[in-house]
């Protein structure tokens, strides 16, 4: 909250901040860059995916040049989003208390502060607030080692938080005329396409279930990103501390996480949002990502327990044409150590598609569908999960440069744990407002 107040005050103080249209024109291109905003730019997938959810991308603002020819610094831009969601969820096999949940579900809000205070240097602060966060201690247990009913001690169970308030806090440097971007701070590792997508660019209210099984949340580290050939190639390598990867209870894991991702979009970049609002020509993209860690688990009192190796790979295919957008990913994780002879192995994948229809000039609709599958604990006692989702996205201001500025989403979420014979059904409606 304090940060928010500081940010607002800063916005009022810094007179160099370009004026942003408000109200009905929110999200409209700034007057300095009409051409860039009117047509899909070749770099429609910006280097910082979380930077531009609600308004024109940063580079569209940063075009005013000083007398020296150097772009004027943009000290602060404020973007954000509000995504309240309401619905109901039913789990027929659950405890009576948990069979029905209703009310606010998956509600989320975010504020993004960004800028380029000096040539080639930029920053992003993306704060997100949602209901899943701050679960750090996952269990507290009285220990009765003798079975006499008395407590012999207390044990707390800790797990790495999978969600974080900081979606991204990073500083970036773009040497070589912007050909390469170096970024450091807290950010999501670009392991999958879904992780690269901004919260506001998602097809559904949340990322695909299989994606969350394999990696989620922000991590701390640095990334080098190159986007040659007008964004047709996008390659990144990075090193992170791995705080988003789960370690066994009461242990600490140390060891750098190396990531690499390569995407090729031979016919041009695909839409940043997972809907083809532009109803553009045929484009497709192939991508692969990898994550590798050779680390060590340490006990709660700091001694070495085991060395572990964590390998995660993903492959993606994307396609867009004439309003149709499809995206599929396969994912795999193998975590081994030198003690247990028990690999933590999982596979999964999903396919999702949308079709955008402009009903009128200012109203758009998009039916959505997604199917996902994971098999966890493959090397021990496999657990299979299937996700089926369907929905309809309604865009009442499709005439805005970013039609997703106002979005109403009605969605069904189905999750079927086939091994455990448990199901969950949810219906929710989500309103998205970008500012």
């Amino acid at each position: 909250m304090r940060l928010f107040v500081v940010a607002v005050v800063a916005a009022l103080v810094f007179s160099t901040v370009p004026a942003r249209a408000q109200g009905a024109d929110a999200g409209a291109p700034p007057p300095e860059a009409p051409a860039a905003a009117a047509a899909p730019a070749p770099t429609a997938e910006p280097a910082a995916p979380t930077v531009a959810p609600g308004a024109a991308p940063k580079h569209e603002v940063d075009v005013t040049r000083q007398a020296s020819g150097e772009p004027a610094p943009v000290l602060l831009e404020i973007h954000g989003y509000v995504q309240p969601a309401f619905g109901a969820r039913n789990r027929p096999q659950a405890l009576p208390r948990d069979r029905w949940e209703y009310g606010g579900l998956s509600s989320r809000a975010g504020i993004i502060l960004s800028g380029t205070p000096a040539k080639d240097f930029g920053y992003v602060v993306h704060l997100s607030i949602d209901a899943r966060q701050l679960a750090v201690i996952t269990g507290v247990e009285l220990v009765d080692r003798t079975g006499d009913g008395g407590a012999d001690g207390i044990v707390t169970q800790r797990s790495a938080a999978t969600a974080t308030i900081f979606e991204e806090v990073s500083a970036s440097y773009k040497p070589l005329g912007g050909f390469v971007t170096m970024r450091a701070g807290a950010m999501r590792m670009p392991f999958t396409v879904a992780l690269r997508s901004a919260n506001t660019a998602l097809m559904f209210a949340s990322r695909p279930g299989p994606n969350e099984v394999f990696q989620s949340g922000a991590d701390l580290g640095g990334l080098v990103l190159a986007e040659p050939l007008e964004g047709r190639i996008r390659a990144s390598v990075g090193a992170f501390t791995g705080v988003s990867l789960v370690a066994p209870p009461n242990t600490t894991s140390r060891g750098l996480v190396w990531t690499a991702r390569f995407d090729a979009n031979p016919l041009g970049p695909l839409p940043q949002a997972e809907i083809d609002f532009d109803r553009g020509p045929v484009r497709f993209g192939l991508g692969v990502g990898a994550l590798y860690r050779n680390g060590t688990f340490y006990s709660s009192n700091g001694y070495e327990l085991a060395e572990n190796r964590d390998v995660r790979v993903s492959g993606s295919v994307r396609f867009a044409a004439l309003g149709f957008f499809a995206q599929a990913e396969v994912l795999r994780r193998v975590v081994t150590d030198n003690v247990s002879s028990r690999p933590n192995q999982a596979s999964g994948g999903y396919v999702q598609a949308s079709y955008y229809v402009g009903v009128t000039k200012s109203i758009g609709l998009a039916p959505l569908g997604r199917f996902g599958l994971t098999v966890e604990d493959e090397a021990t006692l496999p657990r299979r999960t299937r996700w089926i989702e369907g929905g309809l996205a309604f865009f009442p201001r499709a005439d805005l440069p970013k039609p997703e500025t106002v979005r109403v989403l009605v969605q069904y979420q189905g999750e079927r744990r086939t091994t455990e014979d448990e199901t969950a059904h949810a219906a929710l409606g989500q309103l998205q407002l970008l500012f």
Binding site: S299, V313, E378
Partner: protein, 413 residues
């Protein structure tokens, strides 16, 4: 295709090959993983009374020592992150020791000892579950616990036959084992209502079939009936099958647990070495041929009779139609014996810092590794857990032996 497209495709194919190669190697048949020191346990090889270890979903390993014929019970937790928790010896105080592992949840395991159901947690916490009727306060006695814990994301349950001291017959109940829950629900009366002197001879369950089964006898008027029964995961009785020529079966007179294959055939081995086969259509007795049976194992959906033949470890397949194949030498067991032919290094992480110790003369805890009354626990792909005995202190009935637990590759031929 442009050069760019070709490059993109090639790069993607190379990386997709990496995707396919991200596979973990499993242990070869009879190959030992890293042995980890457990604790000193009462007894000395080859007659140690220790059940095959099991693990929970988190990889914590649980070891249960004792036998049905003696009240002493000792349970241990070997934590996935290192460290061993010992000292759990909870029973109901009756004369029957551990019957077996009931199952596991994410980071807990449950054992049935005498008339008690005990939860053992990764933290070392050890407690009797449902010890008393929450309404009347009377003691509850577990007459049977189906050895399968249905661990779902929202609920953890098991099914048992429970009897209070005031009840004439046990009730079939659902045990809600959800952490913080621990509620008994859906009590169902024993059928037929007029039954008396209910005795449970053998119990089993199948996670694949999502069923439990038991062999029971009871007085129905003037008639003594011996039946095999099938229950679903809600404790509902699915079917009853009469057992012909039951002879004399003591209470809990089947060694280990009853085991089922994926086709629904259930097998059990009595203490006097008779094999009972039944499904929901009928039951029959079979005599083992050519081998000295020790137990019935279910592995990857199939049934195996394990034992010894010509003084060697052997297994015989049990087909879906109940036909028992001839005994085959069990390479997995023999290879483990080979691995234990010389000194082995054992990781000792019972307390930090981790260090390595040596078992100069390692031995299996039973005559042959894996040849046990209880089935092997599926610990990893084609892998289970085995116990290795190290140095022994003392001799005779008061001897204690240091045990280690090791993952091992296993194949049922």
């Amino acid at each position: 295709m442009t050069g760019l497209s070709r490059f993109a495709c090639t790069a993607s194919l190379v990386l997709l090959a990496a995707l396919g190669s991200s596979c973990a190697e499993s242990l070869g048949e009879g190959q030992l993983g890293t042995p980890r020191a457990l604790a000193y346990v009462l007894g000395s090889p080859p007659d140690m009374q220790v059940l095959p270890p099991i693990s929970d979903r988190s990889g914590n390993i649980y070891v249960l020592a004792g036998s049905r014929k003696a009240p002493e019970t000792s349970a241990f937790v070997m934590r996935t992150g290192g460290g061993v928790r010992a000292g759990c010896n909870v029973t109901k105080g009756d004369r029957v020791g551990p019957v077996g592992w009931v199952g596991f949840a994410a980071d807990r395991a449950f054992y049935w000892a005498g008339s008690a159901l005990v939860q053992l947690s990764w933290s070392g916490d050890c407690r009797r579950m449902f010890d008393r009727d929450p309404v009347t306060g009377t003691d509850l006695f577990f007459r049977a616990v189906f050895p399968w814990v249905a661990d779902r994301p929202s609920r953890t349950t098991a099914v048992a036959l429970v009897q209070a001291s005031s009840d004439p017959n046990p009730l079939t109940v659902i045990l809600d084992l959800t952490e913080g829950g621990q509620v008994i629900t859906t009590p169902r009366a024993f059928e037929p209502p007029g039954a008396r002197n209910v005795v449970v001879h053998g119990v089993g369950a199948s996670a694949t079939l999502r069923q439990g089964f038991l062999v029971t006898s009871f007085q129905d008027g003037d008639v003594t009936r011996v039946e095999a029964r099938f229950y679903d995961e809600e404790g509902a009785l699915l079917s009853r099958v009469g057992i012909p020529d039951p002879g004399t079966i003591p209470p809990l007179g089947f060694v280990g647990f009853l085991q089922a294959n994926d086709a629904g055939l259930v097998a059990g081995l009595t203490e006097d070495k008779r094999i009972l086969l039944f499904d929901r259509s009928g039951a029959r007795w079979v005599e083992p041929r050519g081998m000295e049976p020790v137990g019935i194992h279910a592995w990857k959906g199939a049934l195996w009779l394990v034992g010894t033949a010509q003084n060697q470890p052997a297994v015989a397949s049990i087909a879906d139609n109940g036909a028992i194949g001839g005994p085959i030498g069990w390479d997995s067991s023999n290879r483990i014996l080979g691995e234990l032919g010389g000194p082995i290094e054992v990781t000792d992480d019972r307390a930090p810092p981790r260090r390595t110790m040596r078992f100069d003369t390692p031995r299996p805890t039973s005559r042959f590794p894996l040849v046990t009354a209880h089935a092997s626990h599926p610990y990893a792909t084609d892998g289970t857990l085995t116990l290795i005995a190290g140095p022994t202190i003392g001799d005779g009935p008061g001897a204690y032996t240091l045990l280690a637990v090791a993952p091992v590759g296993v194949l049922y031929p």
